[in-house]
Amino acid sequence: MTNMENAIEIEDLAKNYGEVNAVNHINLKVRKTEIFGFLGPNGAGKTTTIRILTGLIKPDGGTATIMGFNILTQSLRVKQIISVVPETANAYIDLTAWQNLMLIGELYGVPNKERRQRTEYLLKELELHERRNQRVRGFSKGMKQKIVLCMALLTEPQVLFLDEPTAGLDVESARLIRDIIRQYNRDGTTVFLSTHNMEEANQLCDRIAIINHGKIAAIDNPENLRMKSSSLKSVEVNFNKPVLIDELREFSHVMKAKKIGDKIRLYTNEPHSIIKNILDYANTKGLVIISLNTLAPTLEDVFVKLIKEQTGD
């Protein structure tokens, strides 16, 4: 049964390409007005999942609802309330920026006056207004991606699907796109963001699902995901003189030791006891500690760990 608090509900969704399980019976729920991150390595099933949810391909099993509408039986109603920004910009390069937006507005039945007002607003917001009458053919990659985002936002979607929206973009364009995503989310749009940019997911997402080989490896908010991986906590130390890393590896509770630049990082689930060991070691050896930091695992650490666990490496 559909819960009205959820924007997206996926039940036992599956898609196979030959013997490959691109999407392997996944279940997840995305709450209304949240930014939901969908993380995974290339070929994990992110794009296939988005294509199923947006009605481009049919699943081999399972189903999903978006804002209460079934993606299989109410596909047109679903498409009316969602928008998609794919990884590769797909505006019509032989049409101008303005004509592309008008076309999308017409296809979604946005009334003429509103269509023009929203187009004006979005083109100004995304810094494309001066180029509105130029063909998209001559636009840079960043500008093309911004036009596609404009096309997606023109219809004021209730759910916005973004598939690697900032991949390969310059820092400024990527930041602008992230700001716009945040702004529309604040205004009530639910965002389903597929990415393999950990920092982007960390900055934007309320919750994250990690997918690998078509299966969900974990779902939680970024902070909890980090905390769950206590074994990835670490202490980073820098002495005034070089030391033998093997001696530090002998400390109790050290799981792994790694030299990173002029520092040594010791992975542990007991940082406090390691700090005590380091202080004793420095005293015994007559060393001066230049810096000493405890580090929480990054989202990237968690991601790599989960993917490794799944693949059995």
Binding site: L76, K79, Y92, L103, M151
Partner: protein, 251 residues
């Protein structure tokens, strides 16, 4: 008519407007739709000392047939290649409305171009016995051939427009030779007439013969019913095949 069907038809016209804006001057469309049939016409009719009415039937039949089938086969491969097909399929437009839009674009293009031989015919003093039947026949035939062109883009599900154009030419050119464009149907052998009856172009050239020379092999009613039947068949089969193959075009 239910409101959602009207809404989808409206969106089909928006698709058609977009198609006409983008595709009418594309290379394959101009070469296979206009240039090649024009030279084919010259090759067959110049120096054969045929009556003007025969020339007119051939010119009008070939022009409508080729021009209304020039955009259709190329649109879906062009869209697949530029990834705009993915964009269109994610909008609230049914696949049938999307294809009807492509048919409408081909129809307008073909109909507009076919006005040229009509004007040439009138300038050459062709006497049109029944202008209303000719006009209705032109409209129906153009829509029929436009539907056929969209069917020809359904398989194979390629994203290379020239491949789609080659496949469509493989079908189009033989049809021209068996459809009474060069030899009136009543002058054909029995087996020729049987083969001709499988081509929609046969019924249009028969209608043009009726309108210009007052003679036809089939009755006007049969010509119209046949064109209508072919149109329905092409549309239904086209929608069914495209529904199956369109997802394969998304890379």
């Amino acid at each position: 008519m239910p409101e959602h069907i009207l809404e989808q038809l409206k969106r089909a016209f928006i698709i058609a407007k977009k198609d006409l804006r983008i595709y009418y001057k594309r290379g394959p469309v101009v070469i296979f739709g206009l240039v090649m049939p024009f030279f084919l016409f010259l090759a067959f009719f110049i120096g054969r000392n045929l009556p003007t009415e025969r020339l007119f039937t051939g010119l009008l039949g070939m022009t409508i047939f080729f021009s209304s089938m020039s955009i259709g086969p190329a649109i879906v491969p062009f869209e697949a290649r530029s990834r705009t097909l993915e964009r269109l399929l994610s909008t609230p437009v049914s696949i049938w409305a999307l294809l009807i839009g492509d048919v409408i674009a081909s129809f307008f293009y073909g109909f507009l171009i076919s006005v040229v031989p009509l004007i040439i015919g009138l300038a050459l003093g062709i006497n049109i016995v029944n202008p209303l039947i000719l006009c209705l026949g032109m409209v129906l035939a153009t829509f029929c051939f436009a539907s056929f062109s969209v069917l020809l883009s359904a398989y194979p599900p390629t994203d290379i427009p020239s491949t789609a154009m080659m496949v469509s030419n493989l079908v189009k050119f033989p049809l021209v030779f068996i459809s009474g464009v060069f030899i009136p149907i009543w002058e054909m052998q029995d087996w020729g007439r049987i083969i001709a009856s499988f081509s929609p172009l046969t019924y249009f050239t028969d209608l043009v013969n009726y309108c210009t020379q007052g003679i036809s092999y089939y009755s006007v009613f049969v010509d119209f019913i046949a064109l209508l039947g072919f149109t329905m068949l092409f549309l239904v089969v086209s929608i069914k095949i495209h529904e199956k193959t369109l997802p394969d075009r998304l890379v």
